[in-house]
Every structure is written in structure tokens, then in C-alpha cells.
Amino acid sequence: MEERMSHIHLPDGVLPVWLWASGFMIAILTGFILFRFIKKEELTRRLPLLGMMAAAMVLGASVEIVPIAYHVNLTVISGILLGPSLIFLATFVVNVILALFGHGGITVIGLNTLTLSIEGIFGYLFFRLFRKIFKKLTPATFLATLLALCLSTFSMIGVVGLGVSHYEELIHQEKEKGIFEFNLLKEKHDQHGKERGEVNMRRFVAIVLPLGFLGWLLEGVVTTLIARYIHRLRPDLLVLERKLL
């Protein structure tokens, strides 16, 4: 849970159908619009790079930084290197592969793609903006990562928040049915009055935001160090004038 608070691996069947179906539709529409701007030859040339960056993102999620038990995300650095259109497809692919390993549901791939691509696309845009303002790589990368992850986390909270009425419905319909083994526990909850059967988004936000903030800081530091390493060896990859898709 400490990992990637901006990208929650929601299981299938938790969110209402209208929400995840809209997620798919918006993701497909966004992908369609973004790919209208790409030349076919350019896309063919960059497909292997897309595959490699998506693979790096998948592997990043599997390596734990031992002293602090954190998993890196690499979406912002991938966004900077790939550009807005390709990072969108890369996040789509990453979510499909993670879902195939049980890391999140199949039905929420569209929503997860939208929240994760916010990180990549805004990371790219913020990086270009801050690089022009500060003229230095370190503050530009750190701030771009921090802000992109912040946006993505709030969008994830928004997605979970949109399903509140559905969670309430699930809680109440189960309560009405009642299963013998759990009646005892239910009675105990009754004593708390308000607690019983109410969806509490504030508690969720109170847990997610502090953990998320730590994640943003760490990801910001790691992404900055990666960008500095790449800049030392292949400065051409981080040049602003480079035309990206």
C-alpha cells in the first residue's frame, strides 16, 4: 500500500459499471485523439522504445527500495522520454500487463490508464515548463514529478469518490441479506451508531494523502537522480528542442 498511491490497483467489481465503462470510453477517445497527431512512420520507429519504457515501468514496480520499502513508478521519466501520446499507450499497456498478474482489475484498466497517464503527460509538460523557467535539470525534474504525482493522486481519490453511492448500496444490500456468522460482529457495530454502514471518504483521504506525499517526495528524488544519470550519459535524450509525439 505504501507504493504508488497515485495509482491504486482497484479490484474488479468494486466500482460501479457506469464508472469503469466511462473510464474505458474516455481512455479510448483520448488515445484516438492523441494518435491523430502522430505520423505512421514515426510511430513505427518508436514502438520498440515504447515497449522498452513500458517494460521498465513494469520492472520498476517490482523492485523494492529496501531501507524504505518503496516501489518506484518511472511514469514521469518515461513521459519525459516518450512524449504525451506514446506515454498514454505505454500506461495502457503497463496496466494490461499488471492486471494480467492480478495487480489490479481488468475492468479498471481504463480508469487506471487515465490516472497513470496524467502522471506521464503532466510530468512531460511540467518538465518542459520548469526547464525553461529554471534552466536547470534538477529542480525542473523534481518539481515536475512532485506536481504530476500530486495531480494523479487527486484524480485517483476523485475516481474512488465517484463510487461512494455504489459502496453504500453494496454495504446495505449485504446487511439486509445477513449471514449468520457475521451477525455477532454487526451487533457490535450497532453500538457505534454512526460508524455503521456509512462510507467514510474522509478517512480514506486521511490515509492516502500522507502516504502519497511521502511517495511523491521519494519518486521526485529518484526521478531526479535518474534524469541526472541519463543527462550525464545521453544528454541528447533530455534536450527540450527534441520533437516528441
Binding site: 500500500m1 474488479d12 514502438l47 522504445l49 517494460a55 517490482s62 498478474f101 449485504e174 467514510n200 528524488v221
Partner: protein
């Protein structure tokens, strides 16, 4: 992610009835499992679904090591405990939905080689997307080797130490930077070899 190569090995080497079943049928089955997860709202129904998937898992003699992969969604389902105000029925419902989904997909992946899954998906999804999926899957194996080598080098040289967190973080970040640069170099070579073989935005599978 190290499990990835093991899953692939199981899918190719397995001899159970699910291994022999057509990939299209298995994907249809997976879609039916997903529909059940979305539709079912009772604990008894979800227990039954999860029971069936577990039975299939053990009938196919898949190793316990892979079973732990299916428990991963529980980590994220824990967040819903706080949303629901510790409502046990709701929590169980969410846990069972998550477990059924992950058991279904792991079962599919452990009994079907990935080129066969991609070939089936290619019939329904845009070829650009399936090609990107295939290239990513292939790239994972290439980068996994680089990552393992870099990790070994880091351990052997004492690059990861609890008492030096900043130095460890710096080394890990450099390792990822190294991974990305190696990935970019490999992608350039991959593009050249694909072009030499007549690649035109679509990968053709054996038997097509």
C-alpha cells in the same frame, strides 16, 4: 516480476486439461468470470465462484508459489476497510471479488503461452495496441536480465546498505538510469532488426 519467466515456463510445459484447452475458450471463460464478479453481490455466490477457481487452480497442479500472486489484490482491498467503516460483509465482498479476479487471470496466464493470448487478442483489438503489448512483454525479459545483473553488482559492491540510505537511493536511481539507457539502446537495435524483417506495425504469429 521474476515470477513472469516462471509463469511462462508453466504455460508452455504444463499438461493439464486447461493447458490443452483453446486460448479463445479460456479468454471467453475469463470474460465470464469477470462478468460474474461484476454482477454477483452476495457472499455465497462469490464464495462459490472463488471455490471453483481455486479447484481449477489445484486440479491443474499449479505450484503454490504462483498461488501467492493471486493474493496481491488483498493489499489494495485493505483501503476499503477504512472507507466502509469496518463493515465486515462489505470487506469480505471486496476481498472475494479481488481474489476471484486475480485467480482467474493468473490461471489464464499460467495455462496459456503469451503468444497465443496475444494472437487471440489480435482478432478483436487494434493491431497497434497488441503489437505494443507484445513488444513490452518481450522487452520485460530483456530488461529483467539487465536488472538482475545490475542488482547483483550492487549487492556485491555493497551498494545497498541500511546505514547509508542516501547512497543506496543514489545507487538504485543510477541502476534504473542504466536500465533505461540499456533499454533505449536495445530498442534501437530491435527497430533495425524488425525493419530488416519487413515489420509494418503488425506482428505476425506462427500459423497465420
Amino acid at each position: 516480476m521474476i515470477q513472469l519467466s516462471y509463469l511462462d515456463y508453466l504455460a508452455v510445459e504444463g499438461k493439464s486439461f486447461l493447458h490443452r484447452l483453446s486460448p479463445t475458450l479460456k479468454i471467453i471463460g475469463m470474460l465470464m468470470v469477470l462478468s460474474s464478479i461484476v454482477i454477483l453481490r452476495t457472499l455465497s455466490g462469490l464464495f462459490l465462484l472463488y471455490g471453483i477457481l481455486l479447484a481449477l487452480f489445484f486440479i491443474c497442479r499449479l505450484p503454490l508459489r504462483i498461488f501467492f500472486l493471486t493474493l496481491y489484490p488483498l493489499i489494495f482491498s485493505v483501503l476499503f476497510i477504512f472507507i466502509s467503516g469496518f463493515e465486515i460483509n462489505f470487506i469480505l465482498l471486496i476481498f472475494l471479488k479481488g481474489l476471484s479476479g486475480s485467480t482467474g487471470v493468473v490461471l489464464l496466464l499460467a495455462t496459456t503461452p503469451y503468444p497465443l493470448i496475444f494472437r487471440t487478442l489480435d482478432r478483436f483489438l487494434p493491431s497497434l495496441f497488441v503489437t505494443a503489448l507484445f513488444l513490452t512483454y518481450r522487452s520485460i525479459f530483456i530488461l529483467l536480465k539487465v536488472l538482475e545483473e545490475t542488482q547483483h553488482a550492487l549487492y556485491l559492491r555493497g551498494g545497498l546498505q541500511w546505514n547509508h540510505p542516501w547512497r543506496s537511493l543514489n545507487n538504485i536511481s543510477n541502476a534504473f538510469g542504466h536500465l533505461i539507457i540499456k533499454g533505449i539502446d536495445a530498442s534501437e537495435k530491435m527497430y533495425e532488426s524488425m525493419m530488416l524483417r519487413g515489420f509494418k506495425n503488425k506482428i505476425h504469429y506462427r500459423g497465420e
